[in-house]
């Protein structure tokens, strides 16, 4: 893997943000909207005498963390779509850049985008609701890392599907992460779920992350078990996602679809 090429290509997306106002808006617009809507709902619910202590803390914390998973996934699939839209994929695949380097550059850009949006979101949460996400301390690092990696897996699989099925599959770039939201137990504990979904949640890395987050907030104890579970699942899923991508890439080359994508 040639890291020089990986970073060279990641800069392409940074230039994009410098140049494209709508893209830059995306960084601010969605986090602001999410925070306003759900933040006010939370504040309101907090005023009713809910029996859940620290309700606001749970809710806004969950909102910020979920957004990280979502952004991580989007960082991959939307960046890939930008190459489709600008009919640039062939330029890349006839260059010495390998498939692995291309994916790696998408991962780099996904992290950069995520840092950007998360900074905005964390700041807004602080300004609007005096909510400080860092009260979770260092526990945040393994939790966030797990969410990012899960976002990568979803992003890579989505990208593979778009490669295969073309523009009809584009909507997946926006929808697939949401599919995992109910079983991720973002805003409620896993115990709320009916048993079949609870079983699914056990194999969803983000469900462990959000259980862990609640445990940190409620008791200050770092959820080692949950974090390890999530990490193990993530390692497996990321490997599967990469394997799926490269298998799919071979199929696409066999079907001669690389040159047709975006038509």
């Amino acid at each position: 893997m040639n890291l020089w090429r990986v970073f060279a290509y990641a800069t392409r997306h940074l230039y994009l943000y410098k140049r494209s106002l709508p893209r830059l808006m995306e960084v601010f617009y969605w986090p602001l909207l999410d925070l306003l809507l759900w933040g006010f709902v939370t504040v309101y619910l907090g005023r009713l005498q809910t029996p859940v202590p620290g309700f606001v803390t749970f809710f806004i914390g969950a909102l910020i963390l979920w957004d990280m998973l979502f952004r991580s996934q989007q960082g991959i699939s939307v960046s890939f779509l930008e190459d489709v839209w600008s009919r640039n994929l062939l330029n890349i695949f006839v260059s010495p850049m390998t498939q692995a380097e291309y994916i790696a550059s998408l991962l780099v850009i996904s992290v950069v985008k995520l840092i950007l949006t998360s900074t905005v979101m964390i700041t807004l949460a602080f300004v609007l609701y005096s909510y400080n996400v860092f009260h979770m301390g260092l526990s945040l690092i393994p939790l966030i890392a797990n969410l990012i990696v899960m976002g990568w897996s979803i992003g890579i699989i989505t990208t593979a599907l778009i490669l295969r099925f073309g523009q009809e599959a584009e909507v997946l770039a926006w929808g697939v992460a949401l599919l995992f939201q109910p079983v991720s137990a973002v805003f409620y504990p896993v115990s709320v779920l009916p048993p079949p979904l609870r079983a699914v949640a056990r194999f969803t890395p983000s469900a462990h992350v959000f259980e862990g987050m609640r445990s940190v907030i409620a008791s200050g104890v770092f959820p080692t078990g949950e974090a390890l579970w999530a990490a193990g699942l993530n390692a497996a899923y990321l490997s599967l996602a990469i394997a799926f991508f490269s298998w799919n890439f071979r199929v696409v080359k066999k079907k001669g679809l690389l040159v047709k994508i975006g038509e």
Binding site: W4, Y15, N91, F93, V94, S95, K253
Partner: protein, 243 residues
Amino acid sequence: MCALVEVRGLTKVFNGVAAVDNISFDLYEGEILGLIGPNGAGKTTTLQMLLDLTTPTSGEVRIFGKAIAEDRAAILKAVNFSSSYISLPHSLTVRENLSIFARLYGVAKRAGRIRELALSFEIEDILDVPVRRLSSGQITRVCLAKALLNDPLVLFLDEPTASLDPDIADKTRRLLQNIKAERGLAILYTSHNMKEMEEFSDRVVFMDMGRIIAEGRPDGIKERFGGASLEEVFLKIARGQAR
């Protein structure tokens, strides 16, 4: 003369139909080889297989004596491609785009190289304009500049001059011919412009329904099929009067 690209028994079957049917040819150093044939003849599919964008059903492609799977990076570093159906990231300026691809190809002295190519393709005045504001002919020129960034030894072009005005098309052909004369660049290209084919190509490969039906110097082909121009030969073959 040394064959930079060797194609042997190359075949691509899509859904039971052969889009490219057992073709063999060589591309030599310092040669411009034109690939012609009616729509659907298999030209684009052939180029795609040479670039490893489509996997052949059978047959072999060797570039610089090696299969692409053997040493992909080394081969692709010395090869490039452009066509009328590719473009570049729209929000980036021409300079930003060229500079990113220069990095991907590991070009030293990028700024100088970009300036040189900008001069050759007359795109100096649009270097700092985002691609989305360019006309299609301008985009074609920028893509051609991209294709020459790495000083390739082999250049694959799929209908490169389709959207160029006659003046720029002519200049582009001259430019490519100069590079070929200077350092032995080999070009394999497709075009539906028969006059261009006749004047620009050293040799022509004529494809129809996936097969090579004629191959040789343009003059030789005209003679063999009894046409005054390549266009006449094309029409004869396409309308089935020549077989």
